[in-house]
């Protein structure tokens, strides 16, 4: 049984200019010990879908799904109180801006012990011991002293380690990392990613890594799910994705990487991601696709079979005939 199963998730926001569909029928499926990367650019809805899963969206958002099961529990049907027992404990999340993800008024020790008190009900002595243990696990030097530090006294990399410590404190079954290293320097990024993969291997938890950086995907992920304009357009194993992408968007994205450039001018994807007011009738990628024809522009595509990467395309690449 899959640990996490989301089918046909849609999120609509009520805005000043009407309803905006941020996530449009996306699927996510993760087994225990999986490492899934969700890749997409801005407007792809990758963060919004995970926030919807955690129940962290504002009241202006309407979340609908055919199926939203975590560890056998239907997340659509549970009460907010039951949800609070799962979120933060069995299902944890770390965010993009480590410096602003921590409460600036309290020490990091207080914040991590708060979790231990509420979710695990440990007494004071055990909380202190466990907090030090967690700080050591994430590689924070001199953990005893660091417990009394405030977030603004720590660097970005350190804050992100604290966030990771807080996320794994209750031994979650699933950890969602939303662009955890985008705001960090390259050398720190490498350290944090190594830490995440090590923890994932040691504890056997599932890891969903949301990113827009294909390099990070290549080095960390086992499976990759590509999102565009709120839809999932492809899902494959990482080696297959980089070798033979099936959706034209994935292919174009890989071709646009500066490291794959063969000439002074890079191949580009013309146009922009459809926003609220210019969503095409057919395939959402058709205005920018090099292979689009009238069918693509008129009829929304269905999902190709798993051999063709579940590509949301009328003419997936690599298909015979």
């Amino acid at each position: 049984m899959a640990l996490l199963e989301i089918r046909n998730l849609s999120v609509d926001f009520a805005t000043a200019s009407g309803a905006f569909r941020a996530v449009d029928g996306a699927d996510v499926a993760v087994d225990a010990s999986d490492v899934l990367a969700i890749v997409g650019e801005s407007g792809s809805g990758k963060s919004v879908s995970m926030l919807a899963l955690m129940g962290l969206l504002p009241w202006t958002a309407t979340v609908t799904a055919d199926r939203m099961m975590f560890d056998g529990q239907d997340l659509r049907a549970i009460s907010p109180r039951q949800r609070r027992r799962i979120v933060g404990k069995d299902m944890a999340m770390i965010f993009q801006e480590p410096m602003s993800s921590l409460n600036p008024c309290f020490t990091v020790g207080f914040q991590i012990k708060e979790i231990l008190r509420i979710h695990l009900g440990l007494n004071r002595h055990d909380r202190h011991a466990r907090a030090i243990e967690l700080f050591e696990m994430v590689g924070i030097p001199a953990p005893e002293q660091r417990l009394g530090a405030f977030p603004h006294q720590m660097s970005g990399g350190m804050c992100q380690r604290v966030m990771i410590a807080m996320a794994i404190s209750c031994a979650p079954k699933l950890l969602i990392a939303d662009e955890p290293t985008t705001a960090l320097d390259v050398t720190i990024q490498a350290q944090i990613l190594d830490l995440l993969t090590e923890l994932q291997k040691d504890t056997g938890m599932a890891l969903i890594l949301i990113t827009h950086d294909m390099g990070v995907v290549a080095e960390t992920a086992e499976r990759v799910s590509v999102h565009y304009a709120g839809q999932k357009v492809e899902e494959q194993g990482v080696l297959d994705l980089f070798k033979a992408p099936h959706h034209p968007y994935t292919a174009a994205l890989l071709a646009a990487l500066p490291e794959r450039a063969t000439a002074r001018r890079l191949p580009t994807i013309p146009g922009v991601v459809p926003g609220q007011f210019d969503r095409p009738d057919g395939c959402l990628f058709s205005p920018r696709c090099a292979f689009a024809d009238d069918l693509c522009r008129a009829v929304p595509p269905g999902q190709a079979p798993a051999t063709l990467g579940l590509a949301l395309c009328h003419y997936p690449l690599g298909a015979l005939a």
Binding site: E41, S42, P141, S155, G156, G157, M158, D185, V186, T187, I188, Q189, A190, Q191, L193, D194, H212, D213, M214, G215, V216, V217, A218, E219, V238, L239, F242, A252, L253, L254, A256, L257, P258, E259, R260, A261, R264, R265, L266, P267, T268, I269, P270, V272, V273
Partner: protein
Amino acid sequence: MTGPGPMPVRAQEPELGPESGPELGKKPGPVLVARALSRHYDVRSGLFGAPKVVRALSDASFTLDAGKTLAVVGESGCGKSTLARLITMIEPPTSGSFAIGGIEATPATLRTLRTSVQIVFQDPYGSLNPRQRVGAMLEEPLKINRPALDAAARTARARDMLRLVGLREEHFERYAHMFSGGQRQRIAVARALMLEPKVLVLDEPVSALDLSIQSQILNLLVDLQERLGLAYLFISHDLSVVRHMADDVVVMYLGRPVEIGPRDAVFAAPRHPYTKALLSATPVADPTAAKTRIKLEGELPSPLSIPPGCPFAPRCWKAQARCREARPELEGDTHRAACFFPEG
């Protein structure tokens, strides 16, 4: 584009086009020369503490030719943004000097040189005035610096520039918030080019953009460089973009250049250990590539208390006693590194 000298009053501006290509602008000698640029800040530590010095930039020297790109690479705190601010004359250097097009940058020549160097910022959402229409934004540099131009000529040049960066006629009357990130960067580039600068400082111009938009903007920059003979000072932390765009690279660490040389040499055979660590830390978009990561211990020291000797010594795996006592200077001919025990 004519050479340096007092600002000529041009009544009939030549159209920007293939005719005004690099042939007109090329002069012998580099267009930007920097000598030991430094910028220090005094910081008060508490009411009674002695003021401490933040050495944001120290001893940066380099040259840049017309039509070439010099990339400045480094992580946070390395001084690349400070360098951008010095070259764009937003702040004066504490010591050292630089010259653009042969003219030394001093308080006296500030106004003249303003038109020779312009900047494009990182954040496309903060660098455009939300209350100004695009047309007004583009005409403003001309209004301030070329008072002899009449309104019709100004508008004509602004519209030409808009087309040059790939935007359309109807965008002239719009406000900035109606554009996407990539389009805003195009507007920012257009505004920077209105004064026909010799040097364009690009402070992480594509870092805030999506990958698919990034390549559009990079192509635009390459096109403009070829047509107009611009010299780029390209600041970035993204090594794959740098590898694609740069002719020369300078790697900075804690305010000092630690390696400088031609792009191919620096990427293929880095001499400074920090450059090597940086290259190995950059993720490669190829799952089959071997991951030989050099793990750097610890974190960047605070710029308030830089250790004596080589600034990289606390984190360097090759550091020896000599490295902690004396600071190495840049050594070599075309490919220089500041290290006592360089690689290779």
